[in-house]
Symmetry: D3
Subunit: 239 residues, 6 copies
């Protein structure tokens, strides 16, 4: 029995709220249960130095938690004067994942900035960030098209992410904090609408895992991501 009472293969309640704030080209509040992340997509009409003159765009992501998104207040990275290793890892992952489903040439000489700010954390903030940021990015690309700045949407596929793991010896889908903190294995999977992997990151937390467990986890992830992408489609009115 899971602490939340969910079935082993059940996602938490998912909510996707578009246009949550007014300035950003895309602004989405996504909730995976009590995990709430504000994902914005901002368009900047220039590219980083390494891409100048190459006729292609870029997408870059930043991730942060509000200090009291967590049970114990954690100190701000701005106050510490540096961005920590975990943050670096997550924002690199978000950026890499989203870039994999857009055509950077079709984007033109501009950058999309993705900002994922965790308002409330209860496990799975990086996968919620990717899933919500995809919707914010899709909104920003639509704005670009409406403004006549691009002809065709650079979007090549849908994309969502979910966490899976081994808890008490059993493969489970979409871990909340209570499960995450005692999981034997923690795995994050990012997948496209066409069912292919963009990222598979499995980590043994204290106990190594077998090949069979790997397969059980990837299967759970596949099912979860299928559901998440259906919810993205509904939210975007693209069913």
């Amino acid at each position: 029995m899971r602490p939340s009472g969910r079935a082993l293969d059940a996602l938490r309640e998912i909510q996707i709220t578009r246009h949550f704030t007014k300035h950003a080209e895309g602004s989405v509040l996504i909730a995976f249960g009590d995990t709430q992340v504000l994902c914005t997509a901002s368009v900047e009409e220039k590219v980083p130095p390494f891409l100048r003159g190459k006729n292609q765009g870029w997408l870059t992501a930043e991730y942060s938690m509000l200090p009291r998104a967590t049970r114990e207040r954690c100190s701000r990275e701005s106050t510490q004067g540096r961005v920590g290793g975990r943050t670096h890892e997550i924002q690199r992952l978000i950026g890499r994942a989203l870039r994999s489903v857009i055509n950077l040439e079709a984007l033109g000489d501009r950058t999309i900035w993705i900002d994922c700010d965790v308002l409330q954390a209860d496990g799975g903030t990086r996968t919620a960030s990717i899933t919500g940021a995809f919707v914010a990015m899709a909104d920003a690309l639509m704005v670009l098209k409406q403004r006549g700045l691009i002809r065709q949407s650079p979007l090549r596929d849908f994309l969502a992410a979910v966490s899976v793991g081994i808890v008490n010896g059993q493969p489970v889908l979409d871990l909340d904090y209570a499960e995450d903190s005692k999981a034997e294995v923690d795995m994050n999977v990012v997948m496209t609408g066409s069912g292919k992997y963009i990222e598979v990151q499995g980590t043994a937390e204290g106990q190594a895992f077998s090949h069979d467990e790997l397969l059980a986890m990837t299967e759970l992830a596949r099912q979860g991501i299928e559901t998440l992408i259906a919810k993205q489609r509904t939210a975007l009115g693209m069913t």
Copy 2:
């Protein structure tokens, strides 16, 4: 005529939502029109080094804007590796103001951390932060009392803040971004429930101001703060 159509002495629509997130002892979303700030109050059971062994508590405040709270995305202070001058100024102001209405001895050997994170900015973020943070702080103090950690509330008075200014030669209350960006004078006033000043900060933006203008602005501020404190009382059920 003001850009928003408001009367010279009219506040924007004020909304105070308590318990906006679940982990913090106090968590308030405050809206002054389109300006939205998430204010949390967190209790830490220790004091900073300079107060150790002095039998009194402390309150410290941090302020930040989400990157796309603004019209143009602004870069994160964590990424820049340092907290800027404007942020320093604002968070020092918030902390000083809130400390002025609590009895730090009665708080005991603990620190209250105030975090004001601007989700959406449309002028007046620092005064909205102070007004919202007061409510979050009051909630956190109630939690401390309910948990039996303190006997009496250290709260000595109510506290709110508002901006006033001279725009097009006329004194106005509660400037939004459209007014703020062209104001001749910008003044922030922090006042207690008993109608005394905690802070008066008036700055000429391009044009010096007369003593009569100072008096007109402080009078507008007094009225605005009276209304804000009434709204705080209602939100806290302390009418």
Copy 3:
């Protein structure tokens, strides 16, 4: 009775020494009693990035205390690797105040750097800095005119600053450290030669202040600044 024996409305002894060091275009040592600040004005023949191509100049200020300007040695901000909040606040104030009395268009595509370095501190270093830096700036502008780089002086008005406060329940002018450290209210006022406000910053230090006290303090400040501007005129030979 004030610790220094001064009347409630008496300034400390003010000394303004021009040409204190030889390299800077303007170099002034100003003393408000035992508070001594070296203020230099340096001309740089370029403007910051945000002003390029706008045909106007800029003025920027930096403030620092020598480590042993104070009773207890304080550590250098260079060694700490960051400029603290108080310093940020003061140097932003100095810059804003001085910019308010010069015509930046008439200055041309150049920057005036104001450096205020406190050699000895006894209260009121920020107001002494503004008052002394005004003279250094005036000297630098005269140098620019003598060198034929500008036709007309960009100076629009005189400017000086003084602190006032409530100590032992009484409004007093120009607080020294002994008063400052026990003041109930601390207020800094920056005013032009034509008697208008540029900045009013009043802060309750432990006790809120009434509207009548605000008026008493601004009146004391007005008188003090009148005297200070007379001394600036004498020092500059512009009587």
Copy 4:
């Protein structure tokens, strides 16, 4: 045909040189072809703050490249004043992987510092680091036992790592730089001597991968790691 002429399932030439430098408790130079990493294990007789009084040890890893380990000189992170995201990610991976095969309680109140410094880079530096650092760690643990500081070795299993990927549509083992820079998929696998996974990190570089490709890569990795662990055993004389 691979650029190096190797078969799809062939490792590069592996060399493990123990006692490469004299001060460290464990010091190993590992070569995966032209990739050369100096891995040292140092014992410190204290634990980080979060473990004090918990009767267990810790292991932490740092990773760096010499500036000219690469084709183009890359600037030092010490000069830049911060450790980059890629470095953070790699050193967190190395530390996590090695901690998974030692008994931290049996280590006692001490920390093992792993330092992986890349002298020459030709792809696969993180997997070479893990494989070499394991041997350095084993040496340091033997030193602890010889000095009588621990009774039993805290070593629970062997551990090695290898990269696999999809290049030109084909799964390959142990990518060098020429392959790495054009791979469609890049995956790093860390596995124990008992054939279980510690870490699986697969990333699509421009092209998503199917479940069958995932399986083909994990199988190649299993074979490669088996060979690497045999070489570790030989190097340590533990066959």
Copy 5:
């Protein structure tokens, strides 16, 4: 002929002003011609961590230039967020030199902080700093003795420093900026009252120097330092 008209072996005019500021235990303004350095010595009643419990004191030095001490304004190290290489080198030299003539055991568990702040620079700031800081340190040690904190002065010898160099092929004493900027060789010598070397630092600036030139420079330095120490004795009333 030297630019200043001085003889090859002539020092600039030397002035040593004690008690220049009032808070520091030792406060000396030293002038070597137009080079002016404010040297303070501050006593702190604790030692750095590496000396705790060792029954000996410490002396540490910091050096800085005011931004407009120089011909061109140089930016503050606090603003840059780091102390530069040249500053590090100079403050390490000052500290090492002064420590060599005091008995750290006799100083007790306290630290002397030396601060050398260059108000105006015209060459030779590091040697002026050492020579002035010696007097400030002697004053601080006398204060310690007067306060009964130490019984005997920890001072073991006098100490002064001077620059020498090769300019236009000729050895010269005490270079000013005009000479320094075109010198072939630049050498700083620190010597005790008993005529022994504490530090000899000679650097070829564009042209290597012979052994004979080394000897000519050390002889000039010896003479200059003898004169400087006589002036220190007079200033301290220790003739």
Copy 6:
């Protein structure tokens, strides 16, 4: 008798290995006994900002120790977020020394980056760095000539460095760590192939030194450097 059994004027065993790594234009492993430094010279086809448009090249040096090059592990400067004073001092010395023997005009608009990374430390790392970096620089210049990028070698002379000191009252050559840690005087000398000084840096470590001792040390250094330059010639095949 010296701890190593060497005669007072004997160098340690010197080994110079060229082409130690494959990417750098010059790559030399130099050993002075147990002190081992990897010195690389990298060519960058641009110059620093202060030299743009001046038709001359530049050479800059960086120095670092691997964390466990030393008896006790020392923490990385990248992790600390800043380069320490000792490192600054050493890398400035290496750069200055090498620049003194090349014709920067003949180098053209390019920069040579020297990287000295200490793999194992046993005293004298800075002098070993200079001696090894000279050979790496010579190799890089030969590469430039072979590639037809320069016509004539910018090399003007040979250059090597050695440490001397006073240990137990006796002048000794090439101190190892055991001697260095108890030396009364420590001196580093950098000299050209023509027997002239580039740098003389002598420091009293606890005991001042006489003029006769200075002479004895410079004579030892002269002999040592002559031998080192002979070894450089042999290594480079330039005898």
